[in-house]
């Protein structure tokens, strides 16, 4: 009896770890293979290998030296940063109002905010296009800062609202007794407590803005104003049959490594930020 039980237990453990290995390999392999390809040179790219066989920085040199890729990187960094800062600035006060003050229509307002963040972006595309051209910001970074607000702002408001709602009442009480105004309460009482939440929310919004494609494709039209996702999507060789895979993979690795690093460093915070938006809502 004991022996069969042990055998069953061993099988179970083995199967479980096999599953774990499958999950890890499937998750990591495409990125690993992109890195592998990016370090291959010339015709090596077309030799399929599962392990590194040669090492060359050629692809990285060419993606960073020719074309507008460095410029596209700067564009992406600028646009994502400004978008996030603006969104956080507007969201902190709004989140305070939505989480700490009871007023009529609050539930409805929260639903509207959630609705906007889940919006199909294509539904506003033609209207935004008209507006952006009318404002004279078409084909500038500001067109993207402007349009990205549509998803970064509701998202930051939503997550910060759930965060502020969980803070205990007591921290405000003393300030209220002292006659502090709501503005003072936000800046002096809440802000010092909110740094972790601001960092998490900001990071998630940054990733969203960094990865955005539809607006970036539509509201910019020249190589110099594009962001990295659009630049990578449009990287092409002389003809359909000359796709520069090595260069594309090098560019992909360049834009992905910082994100993966950030995500792994802030793992715990990101997971809690994601689930705050989803489950606790």
């Amino acid at each position: 009896m004991g022996a069969t039980f042990d055998l069953w237990k061993i099988t179970k453990t083995t199967l479980f770890y096999a599953l774990v290995v499958v999950i890890v390999v499937v998750s990591v392999f495409p990125f690993y293979y992109a890195i592998l390809t990016s370090f291959k040179q010339g015709t090596d790219i077309f030799r399929i290998t599962y392990w590194p066989v040669s090492f060359s920085l050629e692809n990285y040199q060419s993606v960073l030296s020719q074309g507008s890729f460095p410029r596209n990187l700067l564009n992406s960094i600028f646009i994502a940063s400004v978008t996030v800062i603006l969104a956080l600035f507007l969201a902190v006060t709004a989140a305070f109002a939505l989480s700490r003050v009871r007023f009529r229509g609050r539930g409805f307002l929260l639903m509207v905010i959630l609705g906007v963040s889940m919006f199909p972006q294509i539904a506003v595309l033609s209207g935004l296009f008209e507006l952006i051209r009318a404002l004279g910001i078409y084909n500038t970074p500001w067109a993207l800062v402007f349009s990205y607000t549509i998803f970064t702002l509701p998202f930051t408001v939503w997550v910060l609202t759930t965060f502020m709602r969980d803070l205990p009442i007591e921290i405000e009480e003393a300030a209220i007794v002292d006659g502090a105004s709501p503005w003072v309460i936000i800046t002096k009482v809440f802000m010092p407590l909110m740094w972790p939440a601001l960092v998490t929310t900001g990071l998630l919004a940054f990733i969203g803005a960094w990865n955005e494609f539809l607006f970036a494709l539509t509201f910019t039209s020249s190589n110099d104003t594009r962001t990295v996702p659009v630049a990578i999507a449009l990287l092409s060789g002389g003809s359909q049959y000359e796709i520069p895979w090595g260069i594309i993979m090098a560019a992909s690795v360049i834009v992905t490594v910082p994100l993966v690093a950030l995500v792994l460093i802030f793992q715990r915070k990101i997971v809690s930020g994601l689930t705050a938006g989803g489950v606790k809502g």
Partner: protein
Amino acid sequence: MATDVMATPVAATGGKIKSELMQQRVRAARWFLLPMLIALAVVAGWPLLRSIYFSFTDASLNNIDGAEWIGFGNYFRVQQLASGAVRYRGLLVDADWWNAVWNTLRFAATSVFFEAVLGMVVALVLNAEFKGRGIVRAAILIPWAIPTIVSAKMWSWMLNDQFGILNDLGLRLGLLSQKVAWTATAETAMQAVLVVDIWKTTPFMALLILAGLQMVPKDIYEAAEIDGVHPIKQFFRITLPLVRPALMVAIIFRLLDALRIFDLIYVLTPNSSATKTMSVLARENLFDFDKFAYGSAMSTLLFLIIAILTIVYIWLGKVRFDGGDR
């Protein structure tokens, strides 16, 4: 919304001061909300209304300002040909459009189903105590962190018909008898898109489900163990009902995301009518085919379809966004 559990610090203090303070706070709240509301009205509300308006006009890319009202013409109109024959025109009888609608719905249903099942598996694994759990969690965050465009490019390289590693792997393992042009063949294009999307978004699903799993008290399982309830029965009788609220919310988030899919398909399978979704077709009409008004009609209809599906889902599934039926 969990409005009842919200903190109202002044509720405890009494009388006149209370109402004065409350009024002061409500007034401040209005001013605090105003900038955000204006911003949302400008970037979301106004463009949405204009897009809907354009769908009732004859606007074209170079003549947006001079657009004239033509009523429902973009959606449906009856055309009398010179020969006397009657033709129905417009979006509602456009086969390409309904093909895109079908593609979108098929894609959304299939991808979200597999993501929910696989997400549940990954979440159950992550919820177990074992060595190396941290590594698994870090690993599954990688697909999520990779930009969609980048993952589309990575996969289209791996799925390449000539030099793709997946064809090579399939041949070596004997799963394939010949190399397959995954993204170019009509039959496999949708499968390719589905695989990439499921790979990329299962982690998100898994993390949301995991958060739900971690709220299930451990002693329920201990009690079930003592009663000799089979693990599979435990899953369907205890785990599933208890994570249902989290699962339902995760599914609607993913569903809304899947219904508006654009970037993955635009990059992975360009110009394939087997995968063209509503968003891709709408953008094509708006900016590539110079049918600005017609494209606006598509985006309006897409908005309507998604809104209706969302309402039906929330209503049928009794979804609550406050963490569920506790």
